[in-house]
Symmetry: C2
DNA sequence: ATAGGCTGTCGAAGCGCTTCGACAGCGCAT
DNA sequence: ATGCGCTGTCGAAGCGCTTCGACAGCCTAT
């Protein structure tokens, strides 16, 4: 393994000079710089990460804590993770992957050991047990998701409340008066995951304002669960003509069931999904949807974090504005029969 | 930040003693050990990762290189990544997340800087450009996937050839004589991803042995692409009664289309999928499937890697035996009309 | 009683880097 | 011609840990 000292010797300068060439923290004459850079290339030098972290007091690593559960929004999580990794690299950081499994201990371990300079937390619950630790340390962090109390925290999230409202407004504008919401699995609500509850708030208040009747039913993914839920919905509200689907894995089952029951989309029933665009366009009916901007969430989280690491900017809550794309699954409400 | 020296002082011993308590590399009297452990707890000490890496010449980090593409097998990738992270933790390692984006450079960077002690590569192509680097370094690595030449490499993968064979044998055993294979997207074959080609080999040789006619068609995910592919299949081979689907995101569209065309599953047409079990049971017809054991692949990869890091065991190719689970989507071939 | 071997602990060196203060050499203003 | 401030480079200290050799004290075999 090539060391700084070897590079220095090869270039005929001192170790500190090489270090300054690398960091740019002091001015170096053009000639020296070139000689050093040449030596670095010739020897294939890579600075040793451990030594760097020890001497420089920063590891250039960002920890990313992803949920252990694979039941929820897998493609979204994956996309966020990849966006985080890619964006981090463009800022010179690597990403350490932590699973939610260790919980608060992972936070303690990482901050305590200097393994990472900062962390990004996903799947934040309203009263997350990791939050007190984050508030109690001076290590920068960013949450993807919004807890109940954002005081002293930096958060990046889709504006779920506005997302919910957008869905209802779209359907209401098309004349639908009875709307059913196919929600996330019950476990998601029990866990008090912020986005689910906020979406519901948005849906409800928009329903109130537009005078629409709203029926919300949590639903596991999959065909059987959806069949059961759908039967109950039409049982309770036979006049339902609009659906808002939040659970990605309930979308295709819903469409299949509606087709099977002879309800045409969008002639008889309109469907709006909250899901990544890719899912919306690949479905059996091209779905009117509000996109979950996973990539942007990951990117923005890293950018906020890097800003904090560089001393720019403090705590802030970034809420991304939702956008609805109209596709083939929504249309005017059928004339009342 | 608490240091080793502070712990030592607090416990009334020397720094090296504390170090030996932590590492267990020399015997320590019970009394001393207890006093040291007590001090560690009281002070909330966490060893500094950088210093440890520098002095100990190992970072206790495993690098995991995942594909940048989000078009392929996302849930499988995610599940593997999580299994890797979890298993690594049980062996005392953390996981660094690299995206394929940097390609071979990432390998150089990580091995050169001592950032990670070892690496796991996913999405390995038959002639992967990262392989020469791996062969040329003494840093241990494990591939998830099988390149053309496995000499000097350790690989973990599902036995895709046997997987393909299993699918055909199952359908042939049920009396199907004409089988269509809905493959991965064309891009996957063009990239020469090993698993796709190997599966095809397995399918073909089993078809030869069982005297079954096989039609293979690559297919993008989504409803529209599937519709096109399906039309072509029945056009070319009207007598097709069996389907093997490798592309996860083509499964549900296929089922919907068959239903729409009045072909009952499994009475008229049988479907076997190659996908994670979760997908198979959540589909609109519970699918007969060969599972992709994502978790086990991740776990096994880490275990091989840790073995190599500890000097146990050398290169080895681990092929996991596939298992077919019969569910509701396959049945006897209909009597020839 | 004495030599030899353990066991448990310590001090010091060193891992490869960053960074601070020092200073040589230069050009400029006086 | 002298002094001053720059610019570019260097040497040394130190980051927090691991590990090696040394050695004190004790037990066992002679």
């Amino acid at each position: 393994m090539v060391t700084l000292a070897e590079v220095a010797q090869h270039a005929g300068v001192s170790a500190s000079t090489v270090s300054y060439v690398l960091s740019g923290k002091r001015s170096i004459s053009a000639g020296t710089r070139q000689r050093v850079e040449q030596s670095i290339r010739e020897l294939g030098y890579h600075p040793n990460a451990g030594a760097r972290a020890l001497a420089g007091k920063r590891s250039n690593i960002i920890a990313l804590m992803i949920p252990l559960r694979t039941d929820l929004y897998v493609p979204v999580m994956m996309e966020i993770a990849i966006a985080v990794a890619t964006t981090a690299r463009t800022h010179g950081y690597d990403v350490l992957l932590l699973t939610g499994e260790e919980g608060p201990d992972a936070v303690r371990r990482v901050t305590g050991s200097g393994l990472a300079d900062a962390m990004i937390l996903m799947d934040v619950e309203l009263e997350d047990e990791r939050l007190p630790l984050l508030r109690g340390t001076d290590q920068p962090s960013v949450l993807i998701g919004l807890p109940a109390d954002t005081d002293g925290l930096t958060c990046v999230d889709l504006d779920w409340s506005a997302t919910g409202a957008l869905c209802v407004e779209h359907l209401a504008g098309l004349g639908h008066r009875d709307i059913a919401v196919i929600g996330e699995a019950p476990a998601v609500y029990e866990r008090h995951t912020g986005f689910a509850e906020r979406t519901l708030d948005g849906l409800r208040s928009a329903a109130r304002e537009t005078g629409v009747r709203l029926l919300h039913r949590p639903c596991e993914g999959g065909y059987d669960a959806m069949a059961l839920t759908l039967a109950r919905v039409f049982d309770e509200r036979p006049a339902t003509t609009g659906f808002v689907v939040q659970n990605e894995s309930a979308v295709e089952p819903l469409l299949a069931l509606l087709r099977q029951q002879g309800r045409a989309v969008p002639e008889d029933v309109s469907v709006v999904a909250i899901c990544p665009d890719q899912v919306a366009v690949q479905a059996s009916v091209r779905l009117t949807s509000v996109a979950i901007p996973a990539q942007e969430m990951g990117r923005r989280a890293v950018e906020r974090l890097v800003a904090k690491l560089e001393g720019r900017g403090g705590d802030e809550v970034v809420l991304l504005a939702p956008g609805l794309t109209r596709r083939a699954s929504s249309g005017p409400a059928p004339a009342a029969s």
